[in-house]
Assembly symmetry: C2
Homo-oligomer: 380 residues x 2
């Protein structure tokens, strides 16, 4: 099958770009002596994760237990579920562990630690847990200097669970856009998480693993002293948010949405496509960044960026494409001639995690050839 035979809208992967992305980041990290534990929540795709394994990944990070179950069934054993654990989810964790999956969970409170410890004791099967550290006041986690950190550690270690280490995600790194800013964010992430590990060790608690990361800090960090593993997800696809942050270029974005031109408002300079927010997602992650790409930047069918063109409005199944807000592009017959009815465009995503989630499968392209269809894991 060829690209132009795909029903639109379609989520497409550029296989060459994907392979290059899969290899570049682990190569950089290996040179610094730190391992990558890819966060598979971006593609949620078995075949993509196999490429990541070929590139050296021995373990993965997941965002749902559904992912843990699917990737374990595909042969992954070392899996970190990186969303705070609650009592009701522990039975599913135990089922996976009893089946041979080395699933690890995270906690950031004494209450959650006690629940994990109690489940461990009841099942006589110690569950390994990492303590989530708050390194940027951004979301979850225990502050590195908080007294509660030691309490959480004790609740795990003395309660019957395994205190496996500490982990953090410095989401604040997404606000950076210079090498200096990224390096500083990465250093805050590293130093604060390492500090938490040291406090646990000084308190006589084990803390074998320090796990940090995000795609921006994985590319931006200068050093990883005291860190054992880096988690990054979006690096495998890249997206416009990463381009604005400065850790990717548009020609490295491996996932895009193929769309058909379904109409025009030629007098206004509008091209209408069949990729609305159902295909692109409502993510407007570039809105607050240096270059606002609306709901996505527009490429021709071959994936070449059309500078200035963006999806500037979106309804459920309609996207409106304009050039620099319709000021700069052609109008009238010239617009119809440039983008005829039925012609194909590709839209680069603001946020690959959000846009890819709108599809249940990927068409995998080598040039114009659709060489495979890969499924996505959906739901919880």
């Amino acid at each position: 099958m060829l690209l132009h035979q795909l029903p639109t809208p379609a989520g497409v992967i550029d296989a060459e770009r994907l392979r290059a992305n899969a290899q570049a980041l682990p190569a950089r990290l290996a040179a610094h002596g730190v391992r990558l534990r890819p966060h598979v929540k971006t593609p949620k795709c078995l075949e993509v994760a196999r490429l990541q394994r070929e590139a050296g990944a021995a373990g993965i990070t997941v965002s749902t237990l559904r992912e843990a179950e699917a990737f374990f069934a595909d042969g992954w054993r070392d899996i970190l579920y990186a969303v705070g654990m609650v009592p009701a989810k522990l039975p599913r964790v135990l089922v996976l562990r009893q089946a041979g999956c080395d699933l690890k969970v995270i906690v950031d409170s004494v209450a959650a630690a006690r629940a994990v410890a109690e489940a461990s004791r009841s099942a006589q099967a110690p569950i390994p847990a990492l303590i989530e550290i708050d390194t940027d006041q951004h979301r979850a986690g225990v502050a590195p200097e908080a007294a509660e950190l030691i309490d959480v550690g004790r609740a795990l270690h003395e309660g019957g669970a395994v205190l496996h280490g500490v982990m953090t995600h410095h989401g604040g790194s997404y606000a950076e856009s210079t090498p200096e800013g990224l390096a500083a964010a990465a250093e805050r992430e590293r130093s604060r998480c390492v500090r938490a590990a040291e406090r646990l060790r000084v308190a006589g608690l084990p803390c074998p693993v320090v796990s940090v990361g995000s795609t921006p800090t994985a590319w931006g960090a200068g050093q990883w002293t005291g860190v054992h593993e880096v988690r990054a997800g979006v690096y495998i696809f890249n997206d416009l948010v990463m381009c604005n942050i400065g850790v990717a270029r548009p020609e490295q974005v491996a996932f895009s949405v193929l769309a058909s031109v379904i109409g025009h408002q030629a007098d206004k300079g509008w091209v209408l496509v069949d990729a609305g927010w159902m295909a692109l997602s409502r993510d407007r992650g570039t809105q607050s960044q240096a270059v606002d790409h609306g709901y996505g930047a527009v490429c021709d069918a071959a994936g070449q960026l059309l500078p200035g063109w963006a999806v500037t409005a979106a309804n459920q199944e309609h996207g409106t494409i304009t050039c620099a807000g319709a000021d700069a592009g052609p109008h009238g017959p010239a617009l119809l001639e440039r983008f005829p009815l039925g012609s194909l465009l590709r839209i680069l995503p603001n946020h690959a995690c959000a846009t890819a989630a709108q599809f249940d499968r990927y068409a995998v392209l080598h040039g114009q050839d659709v060489q495979a269809t890969w499924s996505r894991i959906h739901g919880w």
Copy 2:
């Protein structure tokens, strides 16, 4: 199964509210002598559409050909595909029509009309098409007074297709929030679409059907002279955008997201739940309205609104709930006591179409009982 046994996050339907919503709008329209053609793009669910059929719907509107195929397989025959037709999608239309589905398409250009006419001639199977009318300068459609309107009509009628009528969606109605504003928007929608029909008829062309609508104008219109059918979708679930517009109340919102409390930043007044944007969508439809509900308004597990509480930040699998921006709610131990780890909350959606799309199934609740699981149609 009971509500608290559902894995979270979960998309849940309140069956009583759903039934009430299914009946109220068609009853109002029947009293005005106009029929409802529900837009099933909101729930995308066979069981919900069956309730709409029981409430009098003889035909439906769909936003994808995937929906058309699924609803036809479930016994619907009269289906309008309400996104502009392009040549590459016509073979799927013909397959459905040849199987007995009375599928209708829409066009808003001579180029699209010619493509539909040509496919009709080639297949010796005239395809019925409605001309989309632009009544609010908002998206697609031919202006009611445009010379092109007659050209499009002729291209269909003389080219071998069936000119079935005109249709419009006055998306501008979403900007209204008063009965007067809604009535005026509805009257613009009605009068401009009827005007287009009259122009076609004066030109000697057939125009049996005038189809208008949206949930705001379906509730807001004073009269439908010249209109044959009203299309509305979100009325079946309702959402916070509809509440702000003034056509629904929170206790009429039939779809919500069940979430678990997974942590706190108690000093900041933050409650973290496992419904992030993957569950809630990135839709921020209330941002520009009178009451901004963030990523959704918060209810207790029974569906009672907690006034002032909203999801004010969202990451992929994390939602941050605060009370009036964390100013008004409890902090510290009082917050932990009010929202213990693992406790359940329900989030009302800004935009039901977008939030429901994040789920592949619905848990259907009668009170606290999960009485059924209904699937959603996904993809294109």
